[in-house]
């Protein structure tokens, strides 16, 4: 698109510039209209966009071992995620526990809504690293997907990172991460988490207590 515009401008030099005034006017009007459309979209209250994720979920994750290398080698693992609301929903925390091929993994994803920018910010930590990342993803809900974006170094080069959360049914949803090395033209998905609802309850139960409760329920049933 940029190349076509450049060619048009180049040709324009051989003719009178005045004839382009109406086109410029139309472009200006189009620009104004799109700006007001963007402003409308931006002022939408998105503070409940994550409500559908609150609860306890069983999770299956898959991860591409060597992103942006042409390799198609994936590893998978199972786990459990509890998504709890904070400030009545304007922030939330997803707490994951699972066993990966390289050992147990504990992870938190913190998602926070800005009432001024109407955007969500996302950051992660694992118990092994024990610190939130220096860069947070920022994004919003559009066409049924919440997409967060940020720029990060990867193998010594700057790439774009997209993290998405979207519903796939009343009791299922997906989150996934993708990298782009060409400024967002193409994306390679490298981490996919599929969630199935276990319960809308978000109170953490110690594993021992949970097992005891199960046993009690089992023995109480006829």
């Amino acid at each position: 698109m940029i190349r076509n515009a450049a060619r048009r401008i180049h040709r324009g030099n051989t003719t009178t510039r005045l004839q382009y005034l109406p086109i410029l006017g139309a472009l200006w009007l189009a620009a104004l209209l799109s700006i007001s459309a963007v402003a409308r979209a931006d002022s939408r209250d998105g503070s409940h966009d994550f409500d559908f994720t609150f609860g306890t979920w069983t999770e299956h994750s898959r991860r591409l071992l060597h992103p942006l290398s042409g390799s198609n080698e994936w590893v998978g693992w199972d786990g459990r995620t509890v998504v709890r609301k904070i400030w009545g929903g304007r922030a939330n925390m997803a707490e994951f526990k699972g066993d990966t091929p390289s050992g147990p993994l504990q992870l938190v994803a913190l998602r926070v809504y800005s009432p001024t920018s109407h955007q969500w910010s996302l950051n992660f930590a694992t118990s092994k690293v024990g610190k939130l990342g220096d860069i947070s993803g920022v994004g919003e809900l559009k066409d049924g997907r919440i997409d967060f974006y940020d720029q990060e170094p990867f193998n010594g080069r700057a790439i774009l990172v997209r993290f998405s959360v979207y519903s796939t049914g009343p009791n299922t949803h997906v989150s996934e991460q993708a990298y782009s090395a060409d400024g967002g033209k193409t994306w390679e998905v490298n981490w996919v988490n599929r969630y199935t609802l276990e319960s809308r309850n978000t109170e953490p139960v110690e594993e021992g207590t949970a097992l005891r409760e199960q046993g009690r329920r089992r023995s109480a049933s006829p």
């Binding site: 922030a91 800005s114 996302l122 694992t126 024990g130 939130l132 967060f148 940020d150 990060e152």
Partner: protein
Amino acid sequence: VFRYFRLASHIAAAAVLVCANCALAAESTPTQAAIARDGAHDFDFDFGVWHTEITRRLHPLSDSSESMKLSGTVTIRKVWGGKAQLEEIEADGPKGHWEGMSLFLYDPVAHQWSQTFIGAASGVFLPGFVGSFNDGRGELFQQDTLDGRSVLVRATWSDITPNSHKYEEHYSADGGKTWSLSFSALKTRIRS
């Protein structure tokens, strides 16, 4: 955003650092021992529900002692069964209702705690405090901006008893030589 293999690079970096410090190892043994202390349970005292009495100085690093008082509730719950913690603060003051949260995480490689605070009114991530406990007192530090100038901020947890403790923030405009109180909260336990 999330690096599954970040630990590997962490260990690699640590290994490089250890080798670079080989020559200094003999002299730095006491320091190394202090750094290597396991502080994973240093914040356990904070789990529970607390009443908080907050005093916020309106113009820290100035002669003005003008301040604002807020009182509210702090709820601190376990994350990952106690390895990390989530703090939710709700307080009321002359400017109305105020809400914030902190995520406390322990870095087992650096043996340091980090606190990332997020105010509900802004809803964005900012660089957090990092530090550790010494002799029953927690000190976490951060670089921040006050009136357009870069300052150091120190967060401390002190006078820790099972049912009360003090949280304070001080600012320093001289690289940590002198500190001026900006925020204090006296927390008393409501329940565990």
